[in-house]
């Protein structure tokens, strides 16, 4: 009898890119729910808009590049990029902000560099930074956390805001939006207040700000689940958390009036999202064990430096992009000792 041949190994692969991406999306669900809870249904509109735009952009680029479309769409990497960017945007960002950001992320940051696996920078973060420097106003206008605003918005109001930038009657823009805890802290400190005085403000909750701390906890939960599922390794998140804790801890010890405690920096802003979902993007991170630890710590330290002394209140996106630059070098200098070779 004749048989067709193939080269070893002959066992079925145990994993697939689609599965990895799918599990990342699943792990984001608690975070998205928390965001919706505190910032309204605009979050969902952003996500849907982003995903549709991303899939269309991806298909179009693949067609132009003459690549098989379905195979790449199926890997879900574009969806992950879309969701990550969408949940980083203010929940009432105008639709064109989302669309432009996604187009920039998929077309420029991903495909101009060769597509999945070849892009040196995290596409979602490139998109985010592009938006932040181009359209600072809509990018920093977060809706007020539920319960803190002077008015509640229904779905229609939100849709009107997002698609027509139409503010509901008898409301003004300032009443709808609110400074984020990181913003608020920065402003207060610049007004010569102490951290403690600043934290007595309404936006600050138990850990790091009303709403925000719950969103962070939800991301943490999803991230831990990803670790249990072995989709991500512990090195980058732990490195990042360690980095931010150590530097913020030192500063806090030096002057608690001037520097917020570590727990604030861990649960404010996008720290948890960054630690478990953004810095862990395999394509753009370091790949060796030691390299990943350093990579994570580097991001943690950068986040703190930019938050405290830089010009932007949150800094995860910038820090990740800067660390992306260092990833190849980190890999090069942290090669493991090969079996049977002398140390």
């Amino acid at each position: 009898m004749k048989f067709s041949t193939a080269l070893s190994p002959h066992v079925q692969p145990v994993n697939s890119v689609t599965r990895v991406m799918f599990e990342v999306i699943v792990a984001l669900v608690p975070g998205v729910i928390a965001l919706v809870w505190f910032f309204g249904l605009g979050v969902l509109i952003n996500v849907v808009l982003a995903v549709i735009t991303a899939l269309m952009a991806e298909s179009l680029v693949l067609l132009v590049r003459g690549r098989p479309v379905w195979v790449s769409l199926k890997d879900l990497s574009a969806v992950v990029t879309a969701v990550l960017l969408a949940i980083s945007l203010p929940a009432i960002a105008p639709w064109w902000v989302t669309v432009t950001g996604i187009l920039f992320a998929i077309v420029i940051a991903k495909h101009l560099y060769g597509g999945l696996g070849y892009n040196p920078f995290n596409p979602a973060m490139v998109g985010y930074v592009f938006l932040l420097v181009s359209f600072p106003l809509p990018m920093t206008s977060w809706p007020a956390v539920a319960g803190l605003g002077t008015m509640t918005l229904n779905f229609q109001d939100i849709a009107q805001l997002i698609f027509f930038e139409r503010i509901p009657e008898n409301a003004d823009y300032d009443a709808l939006t609110m400074a984020t805890p990181l913003d608020a802290l920065k402003t207060q400190l610049s007004l010569q207040k102490t951290v403690l005085e600043a934290q007595s403000g309404a936006v600050f909750g138990y850990l790091a700000g009303k709403g925000w701390e719950w969103v962070s906890l939800a991301y943490l939960l999803g991230g831990l689940w990803l670790m249990v599922r072995k989709i991500i390794n512990w090195h980058i998140p732990v490195g990042l958390i360690l980095g931010i804790s150590v530097i913020s801890g030192i500063c806090y010890l030096i002057d608690a009036q001037l520097y917020a405690p570590p727990v604030f920096h861990l649960f404010a802003g996008a720290t948890m999202l960054g630690a478990f979902f953004i810095a862990t993007d395999p394509v753009t991170a370091a790949t060796t064990v030691k390299g990943r630890l350093i990579y994570g710590m580097m991001i943690g330290v950068l986040v703190y430096i930019i938050r405290v002394w830089g010009g932007y209140p949150d800094a995860v996106a910038f820090s990740v992009l800067l660390a992306n630059l260092a990833a190849p070098a980190l890999d090069y200098f942290t090669k493991p000792r090969v079996f049977g070779h002398r140390a």
């Binding site: 009898m1 004749k2 048989f3 067709s4 041949t5 193939a6 080269l7 070893s8 190994p9 002959h10 066992v11 079925q12 692969p13 145990v14 994993n15 697939s16 890119v17 599965r19 990895v20 195979v71 890997d75 990497s77 597509g115 999945l116 696996g117 070849y118 390794n233 395999p282 394509v283 753009t284 991170a285 790949t287 060796t288 990943r292 890999d331 090669k335 493991p336 000792r337 090969v338 079996f339 049977g340 070779h341 002398r342």
Partner: protein, 495 residues
């Protein structure tokens, strides 16, 4: 007890061993034909010592060569040499080569042979000779001549004999089965090896799921009352059965890159090999059969059998109930490192430990490869601590120097990286082709060096010849001049 170490990476694979480790070990019947390739390994070929038409007996040497890495081939049953012709041989490339074909006569007449009553009376050299003459090679799959392994040279001091029973490839159970059924021959084989090597320690390593083999082995060790031998169970992590990995696990020592286990005092031998040594020394029996696992969901009655070397696989499968309708691929060896056979008329060789008939559900039928997402899972799984992704990158780019820098030749082609790769990249193929490119390049460089040397020598010779010619001419000229001068002087005198 022994403290076990562990190596980096490796995989827990679904092992499917229950398919074949339940049925009793049986003798396979004499096949109609026996087929023996003359090529034993790359660059080692044996010469036929028989004529077509000649009748041979079981145990008779039918092919042999003086090459140091060659081992004699013995007929596994009596019969008539039918042909010496080209046939497909078990080789990853699916190549054909010259084979001796015996038409068996069913009488199974043997040459009369005799072992030694007490191996302890033998000196190491004569034991080695007996092992060499019996045609014994490593039965774990590498088929390296055992007698050579037993003589590592005076500069290497051995202290440990390691019997490798850690059958880590999924599906394969032939060693497990042998240890369950013939623990005595394995352990006495170990004693013979200890005796011939003058060493005092033997570790028999088996995987921790081989409960029955463990019980039988420890029982026999106790009965033999030999404190030199201990049996240890090692965790079932693929590729624990790899020689260097197993040595690391049981001794904590790493075989240096490019070196052999003897460099760190260890001799590692497969349990089946030890059993063959026993048969050769104590019973005078050459290696003409071995235990082979016939398994997979593509064969009706998976089991282990004593099979005569040279048996065509088709006959073996028939004895195991034939194929199921779902059979998709025929693999010699395990699913991780074995190679797919194009045809079941190919015969088993000494290194054949398993014939795996896989169904589409069990085997990798080729998934679409996606771009590498640099997830690093491959590096996490690599038992050699390589960076498979970098190796892939550089081998794909044809950057051979970089491949060497990333230790390409330390890759044992275990396939762990490829199995875990979420992008389904055929990584091992890239490494194989990069390795062969490096080797081809080295050969070419060597050839070029030889040619250059030849050319240089030619030039030198030519220059030398020319110089000699010039010298001769000069001498001649001088001589002539002298004569002339003498003549002139003479004339001067006469004037």
């Amino acid at each position: 007890m022994l403290n076990l170490a562990r190596f980096h990476g490796g995989l827990h694979l679904p092992n499917n061993k229950e398919l074949s480790n339940q049925a009793p070990l049986r003798q396979a019947s004499i096949p109609k034909k026996l087929v023996y390739p003359l090529m034993q390994r790359q660059g080692v070929t044996v010469d036929p010592k028989i004529q077509v038409g000649e009748r041979v007996l079981r145990g008779q040497v039918i092919a042999y060569s003086d090459h140091p890495l060659a081992t004699p081939v013995h007929a596994a049953s009596s019969g008539v040499i039918e042909a010496i012709e080209e046939r497909l041989i078990p080789h990853p490339s699916g190549m054909a080569d010259l084979c001796i074909v015996i038409a068996t006569d069913g009488l199974d007449e043997s040459l009369v042979t005799q072992g030694v009553a007490d191996f302890r009376s033998q000196d190491p050299a004569s034991i080695r000779t007996a092992i060499k003459n019996a045609g014994i090679v490593g039965l774990g799959g590498a088929a390296f001549p055992t007698s050579i392994k037993l003589n590592p040279g005076p500069q290497r001091k051995l202290d440990t004999l390691l019997l490798n029973g850690a059958e880590c490839e999924p599906y394969i159970t032939c060693d497990d089965c042998l240890m369950q059924n013939q623990p005595e021959s394995v352990l006495v084989g170990a004693q013979i090896l200890l005796h011939s090597l003058h060493i005092e320690r033997c570790i028999v390593a088996i995987e921790d799921h081989m409960k029955r083999a463990y019980a039988r082995l420890t029982q026999v060790v106790a009965a033999l009352n030999d404190p030199r031998i201990i049996v240890v169970q090692v965790p079932a992590i693929y590729p624990t059965g790899g020689e260097k990995q197993l040595i690391k696990v049981v001794t904590g020592k790493e075989t240096p890159s490019g070196g052999i286990p003897a460099d760190i005092g260890v001799l590692c031998v497969n349990v089946g090999t030890a059993s063959a040594v026993y048969d050769a020394v104590c019973n005078g029996k050459p290696l003409t059969e071995r235990v082979i696992t016939v398994t997979g969901r593509g064969v009706k009655e998976p089991q282990n059998r004593y099979v005569r070397i040279g048996t065509p696989i088709s006959e073996l499968i028939e004895q195991c109930g034939g194929y199921t309708e779902h059979v998709e691929r025929l693999i010699m060896g395990g699913p991780m490192m074995g190679f797919a056979l194009p045809d079941d008329e190919i015969a088993v060789v000494k290194a054949t430990n398993c014939i795996l008939a896989g169904t589409a559900a069990d085997i990798n039928t080729g998934k679409q490869a996606m771009p590498c997402i640099r997830c690093g899972d491959c590096a996490k799984a690599c038992p050699v601590d390589l960076l498979p992704q970098q190796l892939y990158w550089h081998s794909r780019a044809g950057n051979l120097d970089k491949c060497k820098e990333f230790s390409l030749f330390d890759c044992i082609e275990c396939g762990c990286c490829e199995v875990v790769c979420p992008s389904h990249i055929p990584l091992v193929q890239y490494y194989r082709s990069a390795k062969s490119k490096v080797i081809a390049k080295a050969k070419e460089a060597e050839k070029a060096a030889v040619a250059k040397r030849r050319h240089d020598m030619h030039l030198e010779r030519k220059a030398k010849e020319q110089a000699e010619k010039a010298e001769r001419a000069r001498l001649k000229k001088e001589a002539l001049a002298k004569v002339k001068q003498a003549n002139a002087e003479k004339e001067g005198v006469t004037q």
